[in-house]
């Protein structure tokens, strides 16, 4: 059975007990993203601290509705990115994207991606990649908006 390779224990754990869930104040940008195929949705807020490109991801909070993969993925992401410099976090995000597009060929760099390497199996199921990316794309969008805002204020 291939199911276990897709649904690793760590994914099911995050799915059942998501981290950082719930919308919190303060935040610099909020976005809503939806997966048009299934209607899965996420509302995600990003709070940055510090100046310009040196800013740090102070908080990621979210509310979401979706499958185990999309739920676990946003939870893992929040764990991973909170506290990182924006530039670093963007790089992690790019790496995760590359992992998702690897069609199972890539195992993921655990030092960089941490628990997110558990999603390597998803990349073999094209229909599920969007699920895994939903939260990440929302974060990228929200962060870009927050950075823009900070830039236009500064």
């Amino acid at each position: 059975m291939q199911l276990e390779s897709l649904y690793q224990e760590i994914i099911l754990d995050h799915y059942r007990r998501p981290h950082h869930k719930g919308l919190r104040e303060p935040y610099d940008a909020q976005v809503e993203h939806v997966n048009p195929v299934c209607g899965d949705e996420v509302t995600l807020r990003v709070a940055l601290s510090g100046p310009g490109t040196d800013a740090t991801v102070a908080d990621i909070s979210y509310d979401s509705l979706g499958c185990s993969i999309s739920q676990a993925s946003v939870s893992v992401m929040a764990d991973l990115l909170i506290g990182k410099r924006v530039g670093e976090a963007m790089e992690v995000c790019e790496r995760f994207l590359a992992l998702m597009q690897s069609k199972g060929a890539d195992a993921g760099e655990e030092d960089l991606l941490g628990d997110a390497v558990a999603f390597a199996g998803v990349s073999k199921y094209p229909a599920r990649i969007k699920c895994a990316l939903l939260g990440w794309m929302a974060w990228k969008d929200a962060t870009a908006q927050a950075v823009d805002k900070a830039g236009s204020i500064a």
Partner: protein
């Protein structure tokens, strides 16, 4: 069901072994050797050898631009194309001149919607198709996006208002309140002849009669009805009926718009180009009578021949037998699924006025996850909102899992589905 003409002949059980032998894809295995259990015919049906052979025979023997050449191949292609038109017409009880070949059901709905906005700048004979501010289009919450978004867009183009018939908690049309919804302002009623999610079969003839009394036109979405039941346009009551060949054993690339003759005659063109014109000058053009007026471009003759072969295949099985077979599978599925704790059927719980699409949700297991477990076992279902998002919203769910049946499905496959659902439940509650 109400869209079926009466018949005295008792249903004869389908010989599914023989049927399955006609479908090459059904003998393949998936995901590490599981036999394929294809329960996604609502999305697209599989195709029997007979259909693939008929299409291929055109390509290998008689391929040419129908209606365009003066040579033998073109004559043969024209015969195949017009023969297919006659066969499809007979299949739905229409005259050949009332059958317009389109690309699919989606294009057929768009054809009518755009012809209606084109009526604004067409001659006086197009008067009855004109809509504008103050006019209303009445859709339903049960619709597939293909019979909803084109009407939203027509309203956006013309200033008309979209209203809709709501659904009941079991996914049928809510018929109380129709009198307030169908009024002299209503120009057109768009409704499905069978829901692709709940399987509900609305009383098209009744609603059409009311609409006609109010002076409205009626378009029925037959994409899920025509493949599965005997549909006869003379009793259906709708002015227009659309369908997609690929959902009824036939190839992609071809669909049908049926329209009552005098309506097609008065309706302005939609897609324009070659073969639909009477005279073309740089200054302006005039157009052929229907059905040619609505069929620009080189005809998809091989695909039409495939559709004709599909009608023949279904006729040979007997549409009453097809319906009875699916009803048997649906009853079996409703029963088996009802026994699974936490499972909610979206749609009628019995087979009365209900076709073979069985959608459901499952407590604690998201449809995507459920579909994944089923797929791992070789069972192909659809997950998501099935292009009927407002319906899902109305039923208070975000997404669902759908099993849909056709002539090649068996009770054993229904049982495999039920067992797969239980396995998913075990996996995610572990």
């Amino acid at each position: 069901m109400s869209v079926v003409a009466d018949t005295a002949a008792p249903a004869r059980p389908l010989d599914t072994d023989a049927v399955r032998a006609d479908f090459p894809i059904l003998s393949r295995t998936v995901r590490g050797g599981s036999p394929l259990v294809y329960l996604d015919s609502g999305a697209t049906s599989q195709k029997p050898r007979q259909v693939l052979d008929a299409a291929r025979a055109v390509y290998e023997r008689s391929n040419a631009a129908a209606h365009r050449g003066a040579h033998l191949l073109s004559e043969e292609a024209t015969d195949a194309y017009e023969g297919a038109r006659a066969d499809v017409a007979a299949f739905i009880g229409a005259d050949p001149g009332e059958v317009v070949f389109t690309r699919n059901a989606t294009e057929a709905v768009n054809l009518v919607a755009y012809a209606m906005s084109n009526a604004a700048t067409a001659g006086p004979q197009a008067e009855r198709f004109r809509v504008g501010s103050g006019d209303e289009i009445l859709a339903t919450e049960l619709e597939h996006h293909a019979n909803l978004v084109p009407w939203q867009q027509l309203c956006q183009r013309t200033g008309a208002t979209l209203r809709w018939i709501p659904v009941t908690p079991d996914g049928r049309l809510e018929e109380t309140g129709l009198d307030e919804l169908i009024t002299p302002r209503t120009k057109l009623v768009a409704l499905t002849a069978q829901s692709n999610v709940t399987g509900a079969i609305p009383p098209v003839a009744e609603i059409a009669a009311r609409a006609h009394r109010a002076g409205a036109l009626v378009i029925a979405d037959g994409a899920q009805a025509v493949p599965h039941h005997r549909v006869d346009v003379t009793t259906l009551g709708a002015d227009f009926l659309v369908l997609s060949a690929h959902k009824m054993l036939a190839p992609y690339g071809i669909g049908v718009l049926y329209g009552r003759r005098e309506l097609l005659e008065a309706m302005p063109p939609f897609l324009t180009g070659g073969s639909m014109i009477e005279v073309v000058r740089m200054e302006g053009s005039t157009f052929l009578p229907p059905p040619q007026r609505f069929e620009p471009g080189v005809p998809s003759v091989a695909e039409a021949a495939g559709l004709s072969a599909a009608c023949a295949y279904l006729n040979a099985l007997g549409m009453d037998n097809v319906e009875a077979h699916e009803q048997m599978l649906t009853a079996h599925a409703l029963e088996a699924l009802a026994q699974i704790p936490g499972l909610r059927i979206l749609g009628p719980a019995t087979v009365a006025d209900r076709g073979g699409a069985v959608s459901f949700t499952m407590e604690g297991v998201h449809p995507h996850d459920l579909g994944q477990v089923l797929d791992e076992r070789g069972i192909a279902v659809r997950t998501g909102h099935h292009c009927a998002w407002p319906l899902h919203r109305a039923l208070g769910v975000q997404a669902s899992t759908r099993a849909s049946f056709y002539v090649y499905n068996t009770p054993a496959e229904v049982e495999a589905l039920a067992e797969g659902i239980r396995a998913a439940q075990r996996f995610f509650s572990a």
